[in-house]
């Protein structure tokens, strides 16, 4: 009711030819909605996104806000990593005015939200979703992705696979869209490198006991395994695989796998695991160093994790989109961002016009002991122009 009255007032003022309408709106906050898992198997990932978004918002608001002093305001709603709930929570946020949406975790959640942004008159920024479809057949002019899709991680894994002597590989992925998308890409990469796939398995999200899968990998005689198991799933798998002696026999690599928080819990058990590293606090560019220092000041010395880095880049994209658009209307921001070059903590990156994918460098590495702690260490990197396959042909921007 309050807004209606204000709009009426503004309308009548404008009708009366009095110019000073804008300042009435200036104090209105810019509302960001975050439907993300705060409980369930991906709670840890959702909470990392939350920390990074809150951190970025504090920075912006501390510097006086955006668009002439408007503060950023954020609302988080728990999706439990369930697509149906993500759609409901996204709707609740968008229709409640928090229509600049971002940072769900599970790819199925992202796809559920992306399918609705036109109807909700919203914008959505992916900081986490791996499924290629989000910038492929489900692409949308209002949907952006700042993190690396599966196809980019696979571009990274191919040259690594070529350096490995192991010929028999198995694939173990989480039984969700992102897992199936990764498994298909893995298989193509493995067979493309002249190696064979000896077993392929999908484990439900939140599996407690990986023993049957471990035995499958072992009895199939695999020498290498590619896994897509994030968060708690990855920890459970590696812990149990270690107990069965699998880690000594089989080389393990993955995407969404050797992430900072997972490696922190696993400690020495993570030694020698390989994987894509989409963001690392150790990336040696001045902007990243400043970000890491500021982050550590606020988080008692802790370094930002890869998911926190990606979510922060998502906020950088949104903030610069708002500034370029000079408006907080989702469609204006989306139009302003298309094809734009954005300043991010890991250097300048461009929003690819064809599919709204942010194009930046990608990294691959191994968990090694550095200064007394086990950490993902970058051993190979690809610059933005080499890290991505060309835009997916099935992407047709609708608006």
């Amino acid at each position: 009711l309050r807004t209606t009255r204000r709009q009426l007032l503004a309308g009548s003022l404008a009708a009366a030819g009095i110019g000073a309408v804008r300042p009435t709106f200036a104090a209105d906050p810019i509302r960001i909605g975050v439907p993300t898992p705060l409980s369930g198997a991906y709670a840890d990932l959702g909470n990392q996104a939350k920390r990074a978004i809150e951190f970025a918002i504090d920075e912006v608001n501390g510097a006086g806000g955006l668009l002439g002093g408007r503060m950023l305001e954020v609302r988080f709603l728990d999706t439990e990593a369930k697509p149906e709930l993500a759609r409901q929570q996204g709707e609740k946020l968008a229709l409640g005015g928090y229509n600049l949406l971002m940072a769900a975790v599970n790819s199925s959640e992202g796809l559920a939200i992306a399918g609705m942004v036109d109807r909700w008159n919203a914008l959505y920024i992916s900081t986490n979703h791996k499924a290629d479809d989000l910038t492929g057949k489900a692409c949308n002019a209002r949907v952006f992705r700042v993190n690396k899709p599966d196809a980019a991680d696979m571009t990274l894994i191919r040259p690594w696979l070529a350096t490995r002597s192991e010929t028999k590989w198995s694939v173990l992925c989480v039984d969700i869209v992102a897992g199936h998308s990764a498994a298909a890409n893995f298989k193509a990469a493995i067979t493309g490198a002249g190696k064979t796939v000896v077993s392929e398995n999908f484990a439900s999200l939140g599996t407690s006991d990986y023993a049957p899968y471990i035995e499958q990998i072992s009895s199939a005689g695999a020498q290498g395994t590619l896994v897509v198991l994030a968060g708690r799933d990855g920890i459970n798998f590696v812990t149990q695989a270690g107990k069965f002696g699998l880690l000594d026999k089989v080389i393990i690599a993955g995407t969404s796998f050797i992430t900072d928080n997972v490696v922190k819990v696993l400690g020495d058990k993570a030694k020698g695991l390989w994987g894509a590293i989409n963001y690392s606090a150790t990336i040696d560019v001045p902007t990243n160093k400043t970000f890491v220092e500021n982050w550590q000041k606020k988080h008692s010395g802790e370094r930002p994790s890869n998911y926190e880095g990606d979510a922060y880049v998502g906020m950088q994209l949104l903030v610069q989109g708002l500034q370029k658009a000079g408006s907080s209307k989702p469609l204006d921001v989306a139009k302003a961002l298309s094809g734009q070059t954005i300043k991010t903590i890991v250097g300048e990156q461009t929003v690819r016009k064809a599919d709204n994918q942010l194009i930046g460098p990608n990294f691959f590495g191994e968990v090694r002991l550095v200064d007394g702690t086990y950490r993902p260490v970058v051993t190979m990197s690809l610059p933005g122009d080499k890290a991505f396959p060309p835009p997916n042909g099935s992407c047709k921007m609708n608006s």
Binding site: G40, D44, D209, K243
Partner: protein, 283 residues
């Protein structure tokens, strides 16, 4: 395949220890305890903290005893006052307890993942049919057998066991014969919760500790209890072992449907033997 069967036994054992606690509580208090998965998780966390002081074994004892005590408290403050309420009320209240436990754990231990290692004495592997099998997993099977034997001796040979059996058949008559059913109820709920805690501690070295670790296994646990017959101890044992096997062999032979088969089994049992495998066919 031998390894897969053993793996099934391990998972079944874990399910058994957890579900038999649920069966105990249901048998005497007629409460479907939705907080059971929360008690499982809390047991693991208590053990984690105590293991930092005195190692895994102290954690095991502390986790089990702490949960016994909590069970007695829950019985006194929740189950007993709600005894004459509609079953749905108690069900909702136990669901509330689950949420409280999860938030309590988040507040005390935080949202980050924690890991509890198995004791050094059980850390190794033994060679088995050309592969290796972790000793700790064999110990889980042994623990389940110990719980099953212990419970059945207690229920069938001891005076209190007799009271428990009598009371779960006809509480009123049992009370008239001079048995303090309230005290008995508290004792049984304490034991049931203690078993949930024990299962949590035993599971902790296999899985990551997180506030929601109970919610996944709880679903399988309910499947076990329903399949086995709600108040049958033998039924819980058979169903747990069956579901453990189905769960694991399903992954091997029909990977596409593996997660669905236990639920399918439950649906079949409900359709043809609504009282559960070991329950009365007419129930």
């Amino acid at each position: 395949l031998l390894i897969q069967v053993l793996n099934g036994l391990v998972y079944g054992s874990l399910l058994y220890i957890l579900s038999v606690g649920l069966v105990l509580v249901f048998g005497l208090r007629r409460v479907v305890n939705f907080a059971h998965g929360g008690l499982f998780m809390l047991g693991a966390y208590v053990a984690y903290s105590c293991s930092l002081i005195g190692g895994f074994w102290l954690g095991l004892i502390a986790g089990t005893l702490a949960l016994c005590a909590l069970g007695a408290v829950i019985d006194r403050l929740v189950f007993r006052p709600l005894q004459n309420q509609d079953a749905t009320v108690t069900l909702l209240v136990t669901f509330g307890i689950l949420l409280v436990i999860e938030d309590f754990v988040r507040t005390i231990w935080g949202k980050d993942f924690l890991a509890l290692s198995e004791p050094a004495s059980l850390a190794g592997v033994i060679p088995l049919g050309g592969s290796q099998f972790p000793v700790y997993r064999l110990a889980i099977i042994a623990a389940a057998i110990a719980v099953a034997v212990g419970l059945s001796l207690w229920l069938n040979r001891s005076r209190y066991g007799l009271y428990v059996r009598a009371s779960s058949v006809d509480p009123v008559t049992t009370e008239m014969q001079g048995v303090d059913t309230e005290r008995l109820g508290a004792m049984v709920v304490a034991i049931g919760s203690g078993l949930a805690g024990l299962a949590g501690v035993i599971a902790a070295p296999l899985v990551t500790l997180s506030p929601t670790m109970g919610s996944y296994i709880q679903i399988d646990c309910f499947v076990v209890v329903v399949t086995g017959g709600l108040s049958s101890f033998a039924g819980a044992f058979i169903a747990a072992m069956l579901i453990g096997q189905i769960h694991n062999l399903g992954v091997v032979f029909v990977p596409e449907a593996a997660s669905m088969i236990p639920l399918l089994l439950m649906a079949l049992v409900l359709a043809f033997r609504p009282g559960g495998l070991a329950g009365k066919p007419t129930a």
